[in-house]
Symmetry: C2
Subunit: 523 residues, 2 copies
Amino acid sequence: MICWHPDVEYRFINFLLFSSIPMPKNAISPTRQKDYPEWYQQVVKAADLAENSPVRGCMIIKPWGYGIWENMQRVLDRMFKDTGHENAYFPVFIPKSFLEKEAEHVDGFAKECAVVTHHRLEPGPDGGLVPAGELEEPLIVRPTSETIIGDAFSRWVQSYRDLPLKINQWANVVRWEMRTRLFLRTAEFLWQEGHTAHATKQEALEETRMMLGVYADFAENVMAMPVIKGEKTAGERFPGADVTYSIEAMMQDRKALQAGTSHFLGQNFSKAQEIKFQDAEGGESFAWTTSWGVSTRLIGALIMSHSDDDGLVLPPRMAPRQVVILPIFKNDEEKAKVMEACKALDKELKTLQYHGYRVESFVDDRDLRGGEKKWYHVKRGVPIRVEIGPRDLEKGSVFVGRRDQPKSYGISQAEFVSTLTDTLDEIQNGLYERALAMRAEHTRSIKSWDKFEKFFTPKNKDQPEIHGGFAECYFVDCPETDEKLKPLKVTPRCIPLDQDNEEGYCVFTGQKTKVKGIFGKSY
Amino acid sequence: MICWHPDVEYRFINFLLFSSIPMPKNAISPTRQKDYPEWYQQVVKAADLAENSPVRGCMIIKPWGYGIWENMQRVLDRMFKDTGHENAYFPVFIPKSFLEKEAEHVDGFAKECAVVTHHRLEPGPDGGLVPAGELEEPLIVRPTSETIIGDAFSRWVQSYRDLPLKINQWANVVRWEMRTRLFLRTAEFLWQEGHTAHATKQEALEETRMMLGVYADFAENVMAMPVIKGEKTAGERFPGADVTYSIEAMMQDRKALQAGTSHFLGQNFSKAQEIKFQDAEGGESFAWTTSWGVSTRLIGALIMSHSDDDGLVLPPRMAPRQVVILPIFKNDEEKAKVMEACKALDKELKTLQYHGYRVESFVDDRDLRGGEKKWYHVKRGVPIRVEIGPRDLEKGSVFVGRRDQPKSYGISQAEFVSTLTDTLDEIQNGLYERALAMRAEHTRSIKSWDKFEKFFTPKNKDQPEIHGGFAECYFVDCPETDEKLKPLKVTPRCIPLDQDNEEGYCVFTGQKTKVKGIFGKSY
């Protein structure tokens, strides 16, 4: 049973006595409403997730941000292994000639390559060091690894018995982006890239869709972020792919974020790289390949899905630590008793299992004022704060603050422990439901160009970023459609897999079609 | 109870009937005795651990090799966190000016740097792509991250309250080595690098030694590889360090392999990079920093510590999979029953815990001849093979092959399962004891230069690599000693932390000293 706790009063007096920090209205300034892009930067900063580095476009992922990435890795890695994939590691450098093998592919990446041209430094004429030892062939720091992995596959695959080959790599990649934003678009980022080869087209297509399903499952059930699974239009395909699937999520500014992609590469790369095999009948065939990836961009998606004007909000399954225990005391005598109780609770919580992993709790015993300490954890999005003071000890109770609720409450310690994993699930599910409701509120089925234009035109000039959201429209995937969309800075996000197969008229060309797409502004 | 199983006969007949592959005397050719370096390459190949890539000096780590690295990461990561460290991620690129800040440091790495000079490719005069978009300042692909992390620390550390700062990074690094060998020395390798900053010299020294202890614990108790903890001599220190500690292991060719290092950097980097803090009294001080690392080189050390002329031998705590289950059948009817039993056993084994992690077992149901399949797993070092045939089903028994023993044996399935983790520990401990005995056999206390020279001179001209092993000698760390050692290609491996403090005469200079060192040829 949850009850309002008499310690509230004690805490309030304590707060007045010992804290000179006024309770802020909101911990983050500006608010989402006022300036969304700046709010995002401030949340990243206040939660201590990452910062820009002295290397243009490269970020430093700080421990709290990296802890989220470790959780993502841990869960995804298990999902990949459970679907029959193994991890391996390939060189960070790609010879220029490899990249040139697949024409569309190199076109897609040539403009944003970090090129290694020398292999040492030596003293130059003016005292400083200068590059020396020029390489015969320049090396590209991998922007993605289709070509270097494909080369290995061409050696590894000889017979149909060697297929399917299902490999994943966790790695850093570099794409020399000119305009960068922490997590969302950085010159270097961390990701995983799956690469598989199959004997038949059908099997490769199934793999591509299965991995899209894995990403959607992860996004919805672990990140608490609803997504739309769909196919990309021709203009938005991965360079060199026959089909690109993606999961698309709506952020709180109603923009779309592509959160993961899965590509059916057909025989394009296997032909360019000679990935051939002898089939059961003795004939020779080219393999069918796929690739799929998600990156540290997911952290940006996570931040923008759930956070509020007080900072980061983390779904419990993504939080590096689910529970922080805050000891409350006035003197050394109280401190000794309270600390002992806090440590005992911490130890007990760590014995609990949450979705297959240990509950991560910790005691924050830093010498900080109570208000300052509380806000520190609010801004970092710790799902549950537990305060323990001398009165709690007497009564065997604790005082609980949930990041997803404004008010704190008292509860018996035994009940807190026994219901903890349920409470975590309640927070997790609540965040998902909230994000889903937000998306539903800002998704419209639109049937005319006039309404489409209006939907994407900001209503308020002071907030040029705020527009309608997602438009669901009948459309024909053709250059005419793309041209008409350009001035609005709206793109087809995807053709959802889930189609009702009814007929309508393309909003952009007027043609009859059974295909519906999702349109939006995007990151 | 273990008994010789009547199925042995059945298996032998089965082998004669269905296998055309003769039982090899040894699976690896040449043997260790005949050509150790070539034996090493062949073990790596036969166990499918890694291969050279088309990029000079860079390796591809294949799934079985990467699985070992994942186990190393998992255990070490837990040890780092348990000793108060957090993971973070820093840019792969280091501006040239950063590397130049610490003079000794840049001297140590300038000759082997991969240098990025351009940020795109564009069509060149002869049709191919050429580097374009020259960078104002060249970027170095990190050979190690002291300078880029130190720069972040200078921003993060302001007050004594910000200390200690204890960060670890898992990353790829590049050192342009001219002579490379898989795992042991490669242009790109994977590693972890710890970087910490402290308020006092004492605390930084304690950290340096604590992490040396963590590495030694990991090497001995997880890799089953005995190591000597010691300090490096002045000539062998990390560029920019005041003190370098290392763990040194003896390989089966009696050479030393430096398996991990922990550096006390004094205030060298903090002064070069302005890592300053306000102390409790309001004064300003430079922080004391440390760094420490182990790399995929450990996989080379693991291979050379335990493997034999049949291929890889893995300590169970390092094996990606501890148990392989091999179904034996002659027809479809047998197959159905046997496969069911194999899958049930697999499921049961996976419920067992081994040193905090799930036992990893799997059923190898590939359509291969029995002998071929067995040797496949022998060469890959799977600690335990379990065969199940129709007769085993009738009797509730299994037929077990241990990688550390030549003979297989029958045992009841219930007993196999109930004793499995004990058996794994027995294998683990046995490998450690064997390696320890090997090291003891080839370590001599040597007191004269004559005997020292003789110890390191090959006895057999056909085996120029085989020498005495480790020599334990009184010595004085000075240029004279280093000069005398050069022609022998012997180096001081370390000054063991464990010293008896007795007095003797330096084998190289004749001076009186209380210091003993370990000397050897090295990788």
